[in-house]
């Protein structure tokens, strides 16, 4: 038997050992059991609607059980999302294993499918009256036109706004165009990111177990996309287009983008980049915590509060360790020896905080932020990591508002494309010299004749 085989065996044994240390079998199992109960009880109640009126006593016991099931699911995983797809049921991404020959996923999928509905999202648990109303809506004949919209309306009208019917789903396979770095998809990813992050915050805020899987999937898409040079540009355009959206989510997404940028420049491999990205997404999760009066922790405590929330996730996993450390250390100076990811995210976070477009405008332009931050290299920022960031974003990082010598006002989009074009970004023209707004015009400062006159501070 060769050494290679022996080494392979040891490697596999170690990997399984580590994986076992990271398992959260209990949580998965409980979610599955409750998911199965949900499906069976809902199917049963819907069928019962064909025999009795929802007020009938026959509904009492199963309704009571369904209320209890939803309560327990809510407590475990927060906002509950039930998705029926191709004969299977998922509860917040966890597949429910059940016998589809009985009152199972296919029956529920068929009932919901009559309304062009592929799932249900519960923003909070229901009471018994609401459960009766919900199953009545499901059992009712589907509207002939726009059945899903009709179902949404029916639920609102009968006092169940906590339930959002979801459209139909299909399984997405690898190799589809979906997870590519195409511009359209990147834009979609960035748009979707805000919702995913917002939901994660909502769940954390309700003191529920963190569920990093949706965030991780999202970050994986970011990692794929960030290999494309357009990432910064797209992100900038998207950020500019989402004024007024959830500022907190936007902050997390932007910090993630910048952190991935540094990570990629550093040469982190894909899996590590994904861990870094998830850590960046969760770095400020402490702000999601609420005290008894409903207040978030102050700045000084948000790191620790974040670690506390993240510690609720069960199972040992290196990614969890790193994001908890990041939560604690991402505002620390170098003299307190923050971990690598915290040092990266410190740069990304400070840069975002300096340049974030607040209701009153940004504190400073990205170009100013980068030179002011440069003064703290060696004390607040790791010199090499900061240089990697600088090399990537350039002297006029994306989002910098510039006036050209010819009088045009432009927005930097590209960052540093290479050493020679470190101070010569590709820009979007926002205003011509005569004050008119061009339709969709770009100007490359690296081309001859175009010169930057001054940096402007973006204000609302």
């Amino acid at each position: 038997m060769s050494d290679e085989i022996l080494q392979g065996q040891e490697q596999l044994a170690a990997a399984l050992n580590q994986a076992r240390a990271g398992e959260d079998r209990q949580l998965g199992q409980r979610v599955r059991e409750l998911g199965e109960q949900f499906v069976r009880l809902t199917n049963g109640l819907v069928r019962l609607c064909g025999i009795h009126a929802p007020e009938n006593a026959a509904f009492n016991e199963p309704t009571h059980q369904l209320v209890s099931t939803l309560l327990r699911l809510d407590k475990l995983i927060g906002q509950v999302m039930i998705v029926c797809v191709e004969g299977q049921v998922y509860v917040n991404d966890i597949r429910v294993r059940m016998d589809d020959r009985l009152s199972g996923p296919q029956a529920l999928e068929a009932e919901l499918g009559r309304h062009s509905c592929g799932g249900l999202s519960f923003t909070r648990p229901l009471d018994e009256d609401q459960v009766r109303a919900l199953v009545s809506c499901i059992a009712a004949p589907a509207a002939s036109e726009r059945p899903l919209a009709a179902m949404v309306q029916a639920l609102r009208e009968c006092g169940v706004p906590e339930v959002n019917p979801l459209g139909r789903f299909r399984l997405r396979l690898t190799g589809e165009q979906a997870r590519t770095a195409s511009q359209v998809e990147l834009q979609r990813t960035l748009q979707r990111a805000n919702n995913v992050v917002a939901e994660a915050w909502g769940s954390l805020s309700a003191n529920r177990m963190p569920n990093p899987l949706p965030i991780r999937r999202l970050v994986n898409e970011f990692v794929d996309a960030s290999s494309n040079d357009d990432m910064l540009q797209r992100e900038e355009e998207e950020a500019a287009a989402t004024h007024g959206n959830d500022e907190f989510s936007l902050h997390s997404v932007r910090v993630t983008t910048f952190a991935l940028l540094i990570g990629r420049e550093l040469g982190l491999h894909q899996a590590a980049l994904a861990d870094l990205g998830v850590a960046a997404m969760y770095h400020d999760s402490g702000y999601a915590q609420r005290d008894e009066s409903g207040f978030s922790p102050p700045f000084s405590d948000h790191g620790l509060a974040g670690a506390r929330l993240l510690a609720r996730q069960r199972g040992f996993h290196q990614a969890k360790i790193k994001r908890m450390l990041v939560a604690i250390e991402h505002h620390r100076d170098l003299d307190r020896n923050p971990c690598l990811y915290a040092r990266i995210i410190r740069i990304a976070d400070d840069f975002e905080n300096y340049t974030r477009l607040r209701p009153s405008g940004a504190f400073m332009s990205p170009a100013e932020a980068i030179v002011r931050m440069a003064s703290a290299v060696g004390t607040a920022y790791d010199a090499h990591l900061f240089q990697l960031f600088v090399n990537r974003v350039g002297a006029f990082p994306p989002g910098t508002l510039l006036r050209l010598k010819d009088g045009r006002v432009v927005l930097s989009l590209s960052g540093a494309r290479d050493a020679a074009r470190f101070s010569r970004p590709l820009c979007k023209v926002l205003r011509n010299a005569d004050g008119t707004e061009p339709a969709d015009e770009q100007v490359d400062v690296a081309t001859g004749g175009v010169q930057i006159a001054e940096v402007l501070l973006q204000k609302r």
């Binding site: 085989i5 490697q11 596999l12 990997a15 050992n17 580590q18 076992r20 240390a21 398992e23 959260d24 949580l27 998965g28 199992q29 906002q79 797809v85 991404d93 062009s116 919209a149 949404v152 959002n164 979801l166 459209g167 139909r168 789903f169 299909r170 399984l171 997405r172 589809e176 917002a198 909502g202 899987l213 500022e247 907190f248 902050h251 550093l266 590590a272 978030s296 700045f299 620790l304 509060a305 670690a307 510690a311 609720r312 996730q313 069960r314 199972g315 040992f316 290196q318 360790i321 790193k322 908890m324 250390e329 690598l340 504190f363 030179v371 703290a376 090499h384 990591l385 990697l388 470190f422």
Partner: protein, 602 residues
Amino acid sequence: MPPTSAHNQFIGECYAPRVSTPTPPVDAPVPEAVSAAPTPEEVLAGEARVGGSPRALAANGVILALSRAARSFLIYEPSNEAIRVFLENLRRTAHDFLEQHGELDLEVRPFELVHGGEVVYLDRDRERSVAFRLYRDGVRRLTLRPGLDWHELLKLLEVMSIRYVGIRQTEDDLVVLLWKAGFAHITFEAVEGFVADDADSEGRGGQAGATAMHVDAPPDFDLPVPVRPQMVRVTWREVPAPALEELLREDETQALPELAVRLCEELLAAVSTAPETIQFADILPHLVETREFLFSEGLLAGSVRLAYAAASATLRDPASDRACAEFLEGFVTAQALHRFLHTVSRDALDAPPELYALLDALPGDHLRSLVEVLGTEQGEASRRITRRLLERYVAKRGDDVLAMLGGAPTALACELLRVLRYTDMDRARRAAMELIERNDLEIQLELLHSLEPMPMSPETGQMLLRLAAAENEEVRHRALGQLGVRKWTGAFAPLVARLKKEAPMRLQDHEAEVLGETLAGVSPEEALVQFREWCKPKGFFGGVLPGIGRLQRAAVAGLVVLRGEEAESLIRAVAERAGSELQAYCTQAMVKRRRMARGGTP
């Protein structure tokens, strides 16, 4: 080796179909109506061999090898040699297939794998079927391409094995694991989750008027930002490669234990300094997970650091204090000690200092834990180190060790006796007196070891005498040997009596010889007198005493080592009157004596 508990858990966790109709292998015998529990080999076999063409058959071979290798980690302990056989088989079959047939492209169906239009794998047993598991986890196509090396194949096996034990539901799923693996010669088509069906006429992208729960951050979140009054010009500068490498090293897997321990230290410090933000109960599950991780990796130094941090935490309520004490006790349970011991080198003579530090620093009944380890540990090195650790407790709790000896199984009793032998001879003697009552060969052999260094006393002598009458010949002879060497005269009369009693009956020649040598060793003067009586029996019936032949044989054996001419003349006297067999023995004895006289050994 019996199936592991992981296997049972796995079976228990799996969705159990109401009707299970496993497909019997084509060449399998008809199963009996009632059969015993399957052996590991039976569990790993049993999938159908299908496929008609040589290519399909070869594909089937690869899949079976993959399936069995993946499941072997559930059936056997990870270090079991059987697993290596499965791995070797997988490597060989995969290599052969790719070399002879090129790409192995598999379409995954619920119970079948299809290659080139042929079903190359079929198994309807949901618990066993590799096709079902791949399908259930979302894999729809799997392709192995030429150029696939062993490391990639191993990685695939790792992903599949991890899925087989059904874990990590909330951090990674199959798609994430595959994505992380970054295969070069393996491609997957897998369900990545669900997306809104674009064909949906209402085109709502999965969300119909969703009202996602939003949480607003405080308006001043992350404020105030640090004030940086100075501005420093930035330029493009290459970051030196060694600097990048140093940074990347911080992210290597080897750095994880350090990060994990550091995080716990941070959290424990915070529990002390910011109890209004974070409390011990918040971090306890995480601390336990980290402790288990450190155990599984055998990281003693990290464990000591974690234990120290927990022991140093200032907790403000009794419940936290109790929980912390329980947490600390978990570092020195028998299970934890087992894990630590397995990481110590086989050649190590003593435990690493960290383990001593851990035991010294933490509360708990370490003696009991160590005794439990000693009773169950299989490895000699681990047992040796456990004994060394136990020796530290004998001075203060020697009586407890003695008390545990009473009901201890044989192996453990021997180990405890060994511990006492090296630390407390008096208690070792007491332990020996207790254990000698057990008629157990292993204990008797251990007792011989233990009695050897003990000072000779009537008690020691009596114990040796009892062992000299043991059922086992080796025990008897070694006990007699000790009696002879240590010259305990109290043994002389009983041994003579025994010789006289047994000589006419069951006493073997060799036994008689050993007894004779022992008598000569115990008391040469008395022995000479006794041997004289046996060699030259007096009186009319002296020569026909029952067993006289064996007595004389014993005497001759003893006379070999006795000095003086009389000893030799007594041997000659026996030889003159003895039968041929005894006469030959006398000749040998004379030769031995002369050799000894010249400075040789008998």
